[in-house]
């Protein structure tokens, strides 16, 4: 199961994602992130992944799609709260360098 809840700030949205981002649930994440960029045109979307227990290749693909959508509309997508589990998967995917990753929300908001 995956839960996504959104906190709206002035020019940013923080998505709190929890659970397992796997084949059964990565489409939910993709949908929410794409709406945020394409429909809401949110300038900055911060994904807080601290409560994510698992992420598979389809979950990583959803993050990459989100990143592309952000660039298409001139917004930014950021990742915070990377647990060792999530970090390991992004490292294994050799995708650490393409994402904007911050240690916490405050730093991401300032950036």
């Amino acid at each position: 199961m995956v839960k996504i809840s959104t906190r709206r700030l002035d020019k940013a949205a923080i998505l709190d994602v929890s659970g397992d981002i796997d084949l059964a649930h990565s489409t939910e994440l993709r949908r929410v992130v794409l709406v945020e960029f394409r429909e809401n045109r949110t300038p900055k979307v911060i994904l807080n992944l601290v409560a994510v227990n698992y992420i598979d290749s389809s979950g990583v693909a959803s993050l990459v799609e989100g990143l592309k959508a952000s660039r298409d509309v001139g917004s930014r997508m950021m990742l915070v709260g990377l647990s060792p589990i999530v970090y390991e998967v992004l490292e294994l995917s050799k995708l650490l360098k393409i994402f904007e990753i911050y240690d916490n929300e405050a730093l991401a908001l300032e950036a």
Partner: protein, 158 residues
């Protein structure tokens, strides 16, 4: 196929909701056998991605199709190595696996998808695809780490 060393046999259907169930069973089984945590995560990831590929590719996302998983403790003889290992066989009756499709994509060519095979290869020591009598079979094997003699008790007794 001999049943020696059989730890667990699972019959499931091609529904993505079952992935989390299989992950938790494999994680627990591998921990019980004495695999270190990082190895457990890597193995679980390999099984999960392989199962996801069966659902997506072999069965083209059709739900309700049969998948079988066999977990055995074996003594594996791979290229350079020989020793106790966990073998996981995954069987399906879907579209035939075409050998050339299994070239991992270029990782630096960043785009959605294509990571699954990489995660599978990374997570286990042996990956073998085969097909017999309309059944696709994927064989994954992961070696147990070599134990120092003084530590080699209590764990992995079955």
């Amino acid at each position: 196929m001999g049943r020696a060393g059989l730890l667990l046999r699972l019959e499931l259907t091609s529904n993505p909701e079952i992935l989390s169930v299989v992950r938790s069973a494999v994680t627990c089984l591998a921990s019980n056998m004495g695999f270190p945590e990082a190895d457990v995560r890597a193995l679980t990831r390999a099984v999960d991605e392989a199962l996801a590929n069966v659902i997506r590719h072999a069965y083209a996302n059709r739900p309700g199709q049969p998948i079988e998983l066999l977990c055995r403790r074996v003594t594996e003889r791979a290229a350079e190595r020989r020793g106790p290992a966990l073998e996981i066989l995954m069987m399906d009756r879907g579209i035939s696996v075409i050998r050339k499709k299994f070239c991992g994509r270029e990782l630096d060519d960043v785009r959605p998808g294509g990571l699954g095979m990489h995660f599978i290869q990374n997570g286990v020591d042996v990956v073998q695809y085969s097909r017999h009598l309309r059944k696709n079979r994927l064989r994954l094997v992961k070696f147990l780490p070599v134990q120092e003699p003084e530590k080699a008790n209590g764990k992995g007794e079955w």
